[in-house]
C-alpha cells in the first residue's frame, strides 16, 4: 500500500525573511522578445486599513505569448531560461509599497479551451500570517477579456474589483496599481488553489 504522509504545517515567514527571500533585483524581470515593460505596484492593508510594512509578495506569470517556463508547459512558446516568470518583492517598511517590473503576460487557455484574460498569480505572506494567501490580478485595460475569464466569472460580481490592477493613465512604462486588503471592507478575494 502506498504511504500517505501528512503535509508539513505552514508557519509565518516572520519579520526577517528578507535575509534570504526578496533580495535586491528579485522584483525585476528581464524583457523577453515581444514583451512590453509594465510596472505593478501597490500596498497590502490590514483590518484597520494600516499598511503592512513587511509583506512578502511573490508573482508567477506567463511570458508575453502565454507560455509558462515550467516543464508541464509542453507548448513551445518562446520559453527561455532568462525569463523565469517569477518575481519577489517586499513592501517597503516606511511607505508600505511593493514594486515589480515585469512584462504584460500573454493569454493562457482554461480547462474548457477558452483563453483566460491576462493575469498574474500572487502569493502574499508576512509576519502575523501563518499561511500563504493566493490570489490573481487582472488588468483594468482588458475589459472584454476580463468579462469572459473563467476564474473572474466565478468570483461574486461585487468582489471582482478586488482582483483588478488599475492602469495609472499616462504612466510610462505603463504602471498598474494593485492593492491587497487582507481583511475587512473590500477584502481581496483569496483562492483555495
Amino acid at each position: 500500500m502506498t504511504r500517505h504522509l501528512g503535509q508539513t504545517p505552514s508557519q509565518t515567514v516572520g519579520p526577517f525573511y528578507s535575509m534570504r527571500l526578496a533580495a535586491e533585483g528579485d522584483n525585476v524581470l528581464p524583457i523577453p522578445d515581444g514583451g512590453q515593460r509594465i510596472v505593478v505596484k501597490g500596498k497590502v492593508f490590514d483590518a484597520d486599513g494600516k499598511h503592512v510594512e513587511d509583506a512578502l509578495i511573490e508573482t508567477w506569470q506567463a511570458n508575453p505569448v502565454g507560455g509558462y517556463n515550467h516543464p508541464d508547459d509542453l507548448r513551445e512558446l518562446g520559453q527561455s531560461r532568462e525569463f523565469t516568470g517569477f518575481a519577489r518583492a517586499q513592501t517597503d517598511f516606511q511607505t508600505g509599497e511593493y514594486r515589480i517590473e515585469t512584462v504584460k503576460p500573454g493569454r493562457v487557455p482554461d480547462p474548457e479551451g477558452e483563453m483566460q484574460a491576462p493575469h498574474i498569480a500572487m502569493i502574499i505572506q508576512g509576519r502575523g500570517m501563518l499561511n500563504p494567501l493566493f490570489t490573481r490580478f487582472y488588468f483594468s485595460d482588458e475589459l472584454q477579456a476580463n468579462q469572459q475569464d473563467i476564474v473572474l466569472r466565478a468570483v461574486p460580481a461585487g468582489r471582482r474589483a478586488t482582483l483588478i490592477a488599475t492602469l495609472d493613465e499616462g504612466s510610462d512604462p505603463p504602471t498598474y496599481v494593485f492593492d491587497v486588503r487582507l481583511q475587512g471592507e473590500s477584502e481581496t478575494v483569496f483562492f483555495d488553489v
Binding site: L5, R20, A47, D72, D110, G128, A154
Partner: protein, 242 residues
C-alpha cells in the same frame, strides 16, 4: 501543437495547517482574511510554478558555517541538518530549491530590525543558505545551531530555536514556508507560533537528533523530512501497479 499538462493537486490540507487567525500570536488577528477562500477551476497558472531552478546556486550556499565569505568560521554548535522533501505519497521531490534563514548561536538575526537586544553578532555568520534537492529529494545543510530569542508577543516571550525553511515544490500551489524546531526544546510548549499548528500535526515540524548523521569529531546530525502538498491520483495509480 502539444498540449500542456494540467496536473490536479490534492487539497492544501487546511486542517493540518494553522488557522489564519490565532489570537495567541497577536499579529495574526488583523492580518487574517475573514471571508472563506474561493475554490477555483484547475488551470495551468496554479498547476505550474517557478522552477525547478530560478536562481544560481553554488554548493557553498549550503554551508552556513563559512558562507559569510570572510575566511573565518561561525561560532557555535556545528550541526548537519538533512532530510528529504517528500510528496504525500512518500516520493521524493527532486530538484526543488530549499532556502533557509536563521539566527546565530546567540539568537540574533543579521537583520536591521533585530537590534533592540544586545545579543552579539558573529562576523563569520550571515544565517542564510540554499540548496537544491537531489534525485531522492534529499537536502543537506551544515550550519550552527540557532539560539532562542525574546520577542514582544507577550510577557517574557521566547521563540524556541528554529530554522526558517522556504520551498516552492513543483507548483505555486505546493508553496510552503515553515520552521524546523529541535527535538526536546523546553520552549516549544510555550510558543504560540509552534502551537498555532494543530496538535495532530505540529510535531511534523520537529527535527530529530540522528546519530547516523552525526560525523565523528565534526558535527552533530539532525534529520527532518518535509512533506509538500502533492498531485492527487498518484495514490490510485500506484496501487493498481502493485
Amino acid at each position: 501543437m502539444t498540449e500542456p499538462i494540467v496536473r490536479h493537486y490534492g487539497p492544501r490540507a487546511y486542517p493540518d495547517h494553522p488557522p489564519f487567525s490565532y489570537p495567541d500570536y497577536r499579529s495574526t488577528v488583523k492580518r487574517a482574511p475573514s471571508q472563506d477562500l474561493l475554490g477555483i477551476v484547475k488551470t495551468l497558472t496554479e498547476s505550474t510554478g517557478p522552477g525547478p531552478i530560478w536562481s544560481e546556486i553554488s554548493e557553498d550556499d549550503a554551508d552556513l558555517t563559512t558562507n559569510a565569505g570572510t575566511g573565518g568560521e561561525a561560532i557555535g554548535e556545528r550541526i548537519i541538518v538533512t532530510g528529504r522533501v517528500l510528496d504525500e505519497h512518500g516520493i521524493g521531490v527532486p530538484g526543488t530549491i530549499v532556502e533557509i534563514w536563521q539566527t546565530n548561536a546567540a539568537g540574533r538575526y543579521v537583520h536591521w530590525r533585530d537590534s533592540k537586544r544586545k545579543a552579539p553578532l558573529d562576523p563569520n555568520f550571515i544565517g542564510v543558505g540554499q540548496c537544491v534537492t537531489d534525485e531522492e529529494g534529499t537536502y543537506r545543510f551544515l550550519t550552527i545551531r540557532p539560539g532562542p530569542y525574546p520577542w514582544g508577543n507577550h510577557p517574557n516571550a521566547w521563540r524556541p530555536a528554529h530554522i526558517h525553511f522556504s520551498l516552492m515544490g513543483p507548483a505555486i500551489g505546493s508553496r510552503l514556508v515553515t520552521q524546523m524546531y529541535f527535538e526536546g526544546d523546553p520552549l516549544l510548549p510555550l510558543d504560540p507560533i509552534y502551537n498555532s499548528a494543530p496538535g495532530h500535526s505540529r510535531e511534523r515540524m520537529i527535527g530529530s537528533y540522528d546519530h547516523d548523521i552525526t560525523e565523528e569529531g565534526w558535527a552533530t546530525g539532525w534529520r527532518w523530512d518535509i512533506v509538500l502538498r502533492s498531485e492527487e491520483g498518484i495514490l490510485e495509480e500506484s496501487e493498481e501497479d502493485e
